[in-house]
Structures are given as structure tokens and as C-alpha cells.
């Protein structure tokens, strides 16, 4: 073996060593960089989720301290389905979703198409419709509660002027409270939907519209045959996220009505809040939390299964 070959071998070995040191260092760096996030997720999302499943099988009033925890199996879940307030919350939540999601999505896609294709000052319209979305929900709730005032509020003053002698009493009216909140919710969310739909529309190639125009397709035909089908992924994303957020609605309910009057505007998260943080029934509130979690999982997977075949990517 020549001297030259030995040196080369040694060099190669050294290179290999640095390569492996580098790999090891990268491993370490990778884990150090990801550690805070992973730790946070485990402590603040995964562990609480499991913890709450455990709690849901117990009866525990926080005020009694840790020694007062009592294992009761599935009793909480059985009680849920006899609990009129919870059933009302569930029903209201479903109504809330059925009312707000299709409305915002339909208005969102139509407004987005018109702003995107037909209007001057596009940027102004984007911003104008988006402003309510960035405003504090509590602050805009305060504004709407004044607008909705039963006797003195501008809305009912206007209705009375128009000849409605006995207008709804909105937030304090059992048959109108939830609908009144849905209006505010739609008003606040519409801009978000418009922005997302417009972002989806900018990804549709102009050539498609040009070809359709040459073929003599009208604007509405183009919207139905090109825009809507190609917005599949966007619509899919919005459908899931909107349904999920409609099941998480809370701020407006808490600030405006506290779920009332007579539980007419209560929703699941509000019931979790009431049972957990006002009555301190931690086990029962956890059982509700798990129902909420299961609903959201179900929605996500159902939407995923039914849509995955229809979506054009």
C-alpha cells in the first residue's frame, strides 16, 4: 500500500467523521428547535384532552378540592341527554350552523365574484367588508346591543316608522334572540369569507374566462361553470372551518344574552362555561367538552369523506 493511498483513506475517514458529527449536531439542533412547540402542544392540548376524558367520568365540584372527586362512569353522558339546557344548546348550535354557514358562504362567494370581476376600487371593497372581522367581538356586540334596543333602538324605531306596530324585542325575545345574534355573526364573518374566496379566485387562470367569453358565455354562466367548480378546495376549506367555528361561538352569547332569555340563545360552549366556571361542575362540563370535540371530529371527517371525491385539485 502506497503512502499516498493511506493519506487518502485517512482523509476520507475524517470526512466521514465530520459528516456524522454534522448529522448528529443537526439531529440535536432539530430537536432543540422543535422542543418548545412540542412541549407546549403536549402540555396544553394533548394532555388536557385526555385529562378531560378522565374528568368526564367523574363527579367533581372544584370547590370541594381534589379529595371530592368521585368516579361515576358514564353517568355524566347519560345526564347530558336528559338535560334540557344542554339539549337546547345542542339544538341552538345546529340551528346556528344551519343559518350562518350557508348564508355567509353563499353571500361570500357571490360578493367575492362581483368584487373580483366587476368592480372598480377592488381594494376598497376588500377592506370595507373585512373591517368588522378585525373588530373586537365584544365591542361590536356592544354596538349591536344598542341597535337592537327593544323600544329606543334605531332598528325598532325604523320598523315602527315603517308601520310595524309591535316589532320583535330581539335580544330579550325568546323567539328572536338567537336569530339576532346570528345576524351579528354573519355581519362580522362575511368579510373573511370574501377574502378567502377572492384568494381562491385569483388562482383561476384568466385564459379559461377568455375562452368562455369567446364562446359567448355570459358572466353568470362563467360563474357557474368555471368559478364555482374550480373553487372546490376553497369551498371545502371554508365549509369545514365555518362549521367548526360556528360550534365554538361564545363571545357574543356571553356578552349579549348570557344564553337567555330562558336559554333561547344558549350554545354548547356557553353551557360548558356555565357548568364549569359558574357552577364548578368540572366532570359534567368535561363531558360536554367531549361531546363538542366529537362533533367537531365528526364534521371534519364527514366533510372530508364526502368532499374528497368531488373536489377538483
Amino acid at each position: 500500500m502506497s503512502h499516498h493511498a493511506t493519506v487518502q483513506k485517512q482523509l476520507a475517514a475524517a470526512e466521514k467523521r465530520t459528516y456524522w458529527t454534522r448529522r448528529r449536531r443537526e439531529q440535536l439542533a432539530g430537536w432543540l428547535f422543535i422542543a418548545p412547540e412540542v412541549l407546549g402542544m403536549l402540555v396544553l392540548a394533548v394532555f388536557p384532552l385526555i385529562f378531560s376524558l378522565g374528568l368526564s367520568l367523574t363527579e367533581w365540584n372544584l370547590v370541594g378540592g381534589l379529595s371530592a372527586i368521585k368516579f361515576i362512569g358514564l353517568d355524566n353522558f347519560a345526564e347530558l341527554f336528559r338535560d334540557d339546557r344542554f339539549l337546547k344548546a345542542l339544538k341552538n348550535n345546529i340551528g346556528f350552523t344551519a343559518g350562518t354557514v350557508p348564508a355567509t358562504m353563499l353571500m361570500g362567494v357571490i360578493f367575492a365574484a362581483i368584487i373580483h370581476k366587476k368592480l372598480y376600487f377592488k381594494n376598497y371593497f376588500k377592506v370595507a367588508f373585512f373591517v368588522p372581522y378585525i373588530c373586537s367581538t365584544v365591542a361590536v356586540s356592544a354596538v349591536w346591543s344598542a341597535l337592537y334596543h327593544p323600544s329606543k333602538g334605531p332598528l325598532n324605531q325604523l320598523l315602527m316608522q315603517l308601520g310595524v306596530s309591535d316589532p320583535p324585542r330581539w335580544l330579550v325575545d325568546t323567539s328572536w334572540s338567537l336569530a339576532a345574534i346570528m345576524v351579528i355573526y354573519i355581519w362580522q364573518l362575511l368579510g373573511y369569507q370574501i377574502i378567502i374566496f377572492m384568494a381562491g379566485m385569483t388562482n383561476i387562470p384568466d385564459e379559461l374566462y377568455e375562452a368562455a367569453t369567446i364562446d359567448g358565455a355570459t358572466g353568470i354562466q362563467q360563474f357557474r361553470r368555471i368559478t364555482l367548480p374550480l373553487l372546490g378546495p376553497t369551498t371545502f376549506f371554508l365549509a369545514i372551518t365555518s362549521i367548526i367555528s360556528s360550534f365554538k361561538v361564545f363571545d357574543m352569547i356571553k356578552f349579549l344574552t348570557n344564553g337567555g332569555p330562558n336559554y333561547s340563545s344558549t350554545v354548547i360552549v356557553y353551557q360548558i362555561y356555565e357548568e364549569g366556571f359558574q357552577h364548578f361542575r368540572m366532570g359534567y362540563a368535561s363531558a360536554m367538552s367531549w361531546i363538542l370535540f366529537l362533533i367537531i371530529m365528526l364534521v371534519t371527517s364527514l366533510t372530508w369523506i364526502t368532499q374528497s371525491r368531488k373536489v377538483h385539485y
Binding site: V46, P48, L62, F130, C135, A139, F255, M282, S289, F293
Partner: protein, 278 residues
């Protein structure tokens, strides 16, 4: 005929939508106008859009210099929103860098797990997190809110998506110059990610500023309240004094409105990347 169709349509539609957007913003216009009125004038009908009897200064004083320490709520909100935003940016940028540019065993698993965590709704874990915060002795502190707000798989995902697009050549050049992974992150990756960091930062700031549920559950002492909680307090104290409530609402909204109008491109972009690529 054709020319008229092309030119007239958009103009008419723009005018129509201009009117529509005005009605859409009317509740906020009403708020601003009511904030400057006497309580009596707030309720006069037809609505007096420009106050006859200016009461702006009086309402301003009631909100800012009255018995309710609105200024303190404001400072609390600024503090929490700033620290939470900064902490989220650091944690998520570190994770985003690891998930996009560093090779380590388990990276794929960590990434898939994080995507799955996004499905856990915050509201479903409210009770156990409250108990944990109590056990840690952090109940009724701002630290509790910051701790709960600083980990976000959503923002990590956004940052990772951006960082994947950063050219490896740039990182390799830094490595040849002798920079380690920490140095590369700090002096190369972060500066290159400035646009997405700005976007994520603004959105996180807005969300934290407007958060109501977190403070409602984690805070008890009035002097720790943030603006949304302070508003609730106001409602209880001044429930019938709408002009004062509107002045407070205006104060809650103004900073975000200004921030948004200056940085609208980043905000809108940030909201839309989540929706399109996510």
C-alpha cells in the same frame, strides 16, 4: 351597444356596491357618532348622524378618567398582546425552521401530529387547562394568558410553509462561512422570513387583543383585566349609558383599525394563505 354594456355595468355595480358597503359599515358609523353624543341624543330618531350637542370630551373623560380604570385595561391588553405575539413568533419560527430545514428522526411524525392537534378545539380543553393553571399557581396572572397563547400549530404551519421556500443555497453558504444551526436560524432564516413573520405577528396580535374567553376564565382581579373584559365591566357599571359604552367600544377598536389600515396587505395576505394553501 357592446361598449355601453362593458363600460356601464361595472360603474353601476360599483356604485351599487359602494352603497351596500356603506350600509354594511353603518353600525360602526353609528358607534362613532354615538360616542360623541349626549345620552339623550343617542336615542333620538331619525338618527342625528352629526351630533348637535357635542359630548365627545365628556364621554372621553368618563371612559378614561372615570371610576373604571380603562387606561389600565388598555395597558394590560397592550402588554399581553405584545408579549404573546413575540413569544408565539419565536416558538413557531423555531419549530418552523426545524420542520422545514433540519433533518432529524421523528420530523415527519412531529409534523403529522401537529396537523392533528389543529383539530383539537381550544374550547374542548378549557376545563382541564383551567385546573392545570390553578395547580401551577398561575390563576389570575397575565402569565397564564401568555402561556396559553404562545403555542400554535397553525402559525407554525404557516411559517414552515414559507421557510420551505427559502433557498437551501443561502443556508449552505452561511454554513460554509462557519455558521452553526443556531447562527443560521438567527442571522439568515429570521431576516429572510420577515414578510411572513410580520403577517403572522399582526394576525396573532389582533386575535390576542380581541380575546375574551381566555381572560374571562383565567382572570379574576379587576386590575388585571384586558379591554374585552373591561368592556363587560363597563356594561355592568354603565349598562344604560350607551354613549359611554360606544366611546369605550371605539377605544377598543381604534388601534386595530389603524394597524389594519396601515398593514392591510399583510393582514389580508395572511388570512388568505391560511385558506388557500392550508
Amino acid at each position: 351597444m357592446t361598449i355601453r354594456k362593458i363600460k356601464l355595468g361595472p360603474i353601476v355595480l360599483t356604485a351599487l356596491f359602494g352603497a351596500l358597503s356603506f350600509f354594511f359599515l353603518l353600525p360602526l358609523v353609528w358607534m362613532m357618532s354615538a360616542a360623541a353624543k349626549t345620552e339623550k341624543e343617542v336615542w333620538t330618531f331619525p338618527i342625528q348622524w352629526i351630533p348637535k350637542d357635542w359630548h365627545f370630551a365628556e364621554n372621553f373623560r368618563t371612559v378614561w378618567m372615570g371610576d373604571v380604570s380603562f387606561g389600565l385595561f388598555y395597558m394590560n391588553s397592550v402588554k399581553i398582546a405584545l408579549i404573546s405575539t413575540l413569544a408565539t413568533l419565536i416558538v413557531s419560527a423555531m419549530a418552523g425552521y426545524a420542520l422545514s430545514k433540519l433533518k432529524f428522526t421523528g420530523r415527519g411524525l412531529v409534523f403529522s401530529a401537529m396537523m392533528a392537534f389543529m383539530m383539537i378545539p381550544e374550547q374542548a380543553t378549557l376545563v382541564p387547562r383551567y385546573i392545570m393553571i390553578k395547580e401551577m399557581g398561575l390563576y389570575d396572572t397575565h402569565a397564564a394568558l401568555i402561556l396559553m397563547g404562545m403555542f400554535s400549530s397553525y402559525f407554525t404551519f404557516l411559517l414552515r410553509q414559507f421557510m420551505i421556500g427559502v433557498h437551501n443555497d443561502l443556508l449552505e453558504a452561511a454554513e460554509l462561512d462557519g455558521a452553526g444551526f443556531y447562527r443560521i436560524f438567527w442571522s439568515v432564516m429570521l431576516p429572510l422570513s420577515r414578510p411572513i413573520l410580520a403577517t403572522v405577528g399582526i394576525i396573532k396580535f389582533i386575535w390576542t387583543w380581541n380575546d375574551y374567553q381566555g381572560p374571562l376564565i383565567m382572570l379574576n382581579s379587576t386590575n388585571l383585566y384586558t379591554i374585552p373584559l373591561g368592556m363587560q365591566f363597563f356594561k355592568e357599571e354603565f349598562g344604560t349609558t350607551i354613549s359611554v359604552m360606544m366611546m369605550a367600544s371605539l377605544a377598543a377598536i381604534i388601534p386595530l383599525l389603524v394597524l389594519f389600515l396601515i398593514l392591510q396587505k399583510q393582514v389580508i395576505q395572511g388570512i388568505s394563505i391560511g385558506g388557500v394553501k392550508g
